[in-house]
């Protein structure tokens, strides 16, 4: 066994091989995505699709793990920043950089082992999940929010695992038509949403842990959580009660003909 895997040998003798052959797609490389990329690189994941159309700026510095002040000043592409950090940890990693919107390179994402959605937009999440379901790719979504309350602010977040034959984000009430409509209504309004590093780190770690449970379970009867809710004020991460409420129910949102594979127009 390669020495770098000795401390994670409890994951099995094949940990090096399985990690090296895994292909992680990470859409969104700032708050959550930078943490996810870093941890996957440490584990030894061998293939990365890095997808983000954006360039780094000074204000990313408060939460984009690994970003240097020099890179921020240069306004480097986010895919380049993260690629450099991954290669510094794992020089053998194969990295495909896509400084564009994910839809434009969707074909290359079909063969992913898992897609991590680390984006701000519900509309993008919705479309990523639909895409992942179409190609039987596990989709792991992470995100955080800071909302104003009567007492000040509340920090919240989620980690959702979307797997075929299991509840989707619509089943779980996370993606709703109301949320999509409200987002469309606010589209174009100036101002970024508040974001800080520690909730992203917490949520990204649960996402990576869930990914590892999927590909290298370390205990029998391990059942990755489908929906974890983060309460950043109480500092808790808890399974959502919504999953239990859906027990035994089939997801109605991805059934029917022509929901699998490439759309055949013939």
């Amino acid at each position: 066994m390669d020495k770098r895997h000795i401390r994670q040998s409890f994951l099995g003798n094949e940990v090096g091989e399985v990690a090296a052959m895994a292909k992680a797609t990470i859409v969104g490389l700032c708050g959550g995505g930078s943490h996810v990329s870093q941890q996957l690189a440490h584990i030894g994941v061998g293939y990365f699709n890095l997808v983000d159309h954006d360039r780094v700026e000074d204000h990313n510095g408060n939460r984009m793990v690994g970003l240097t002040a020099e890179e921020a000043e240069r306004n480097d592409l986010k895919v380049d920043v993260i690629a450099r950090r991954i290669l510094a940890l794992n020089p053998n990693a194969v990295i495909h950089r896509y400084p564009t919107r994910w839809e434009e390179v969707a074909a290359e994402l079909k063969s992913s082992t898992t897609i991590f959605g680390c984006v701000d937009s519900s509309r993008v999440r919705d479309r990523l999940e639909r895409f992942a379901r179409r190609y039987l790719v596990p989709y792991i979504d992470v995100g955080m929010d800071i909302n104003t309350t009567s007492l000040g602010f509340s920090i919240s977040g989620q980690m959702i695992l979307s797997l075929p034959d299991h509840p989707c984000m619509r089943c779980l009430g996370f993606i709703t038509e109301e949320r999509l409509t409200e987002e469309a209504r606010r589209y174009g309004h100036a101002g970024g949403r508040p974001q800080v590093v520690w909730p992203n780190g917490m949520l990204a770690s649960t996402a990576v842990g869930t990914f590892m449970q999927l590909i290298l379970p370390w205990s029998k009867n391990l059942h990755p959580p489908l929906f974890l809710e983060y309460d950043g004020n109480r500092m808790t991460v808890s399974p959502s009660h919504k999953v239990a409420a859906l027990s035994g129910r089939c997801c109605p949102h991805f059934s029917g003909s022509n929901t699998i594979g490439d759309i055949d127009w013939t």
């Binding site: 091989e17 399985v18 052959m21 895994a22 292909k23 074909a107 290359e108 079909k110 063969s111 082992t113 179409r134 190609y135 039987l136 596990p138 797997l163 075929p164 034959d165 449970q213 999927l214 590909i215 290298l216 379970p217 391990l222 059942h223 990755p224 699998i260 594979g261 490439d262 055949d264 013939t266």
Partner: protein, 169 residues
Amino acid sequence: MKFQFRITQELLNRIHQDLSRPHPVAQERVGFIVCRVGAASTTQIMIAESYVPVDDADYLASRTMGALMGPAAIRKALQHCYQTKSAMFHVHRHEHRGLPSFSPVDVRENAKFIPDFWKVASARPHGAIVLSWDRACAAVWDPNTRAPVPLTSITAIGFPCRRQGAAYG
């Protein structure tokens, strides 16, 4: 061109259940996995959509083969392929644990009828997959080269995502 095969654990379980049913004439059961295809620049992904067992009446008695499909079985599979324009994978099971492999009879018989699916869905990859109790081995007939190639990246998607083939992908 590289190939991957993906199937949900739930569908794979149903296939195993069907293949476990005893048959009055045949020693083993066979069926077809109906697949859709996802195409990327260097990879084609076969995505199992459904399973069509060979009907009980469509087996022929044989003293030399565990399961011998009659002409009706082939005709029904071709009809299904024509109507759905799917990629079709013949499936059967070897009764052991660990990585299976195609027997000489499997190889010979697959070569006879798998290419026939191109008569009704010429642009699709078609193939054959042999299961064991916990692993799988497959071959895919590439529509571009018209030749079979081993398909080692076979994954059952579920809790966990289980590598079935020799490779993980």
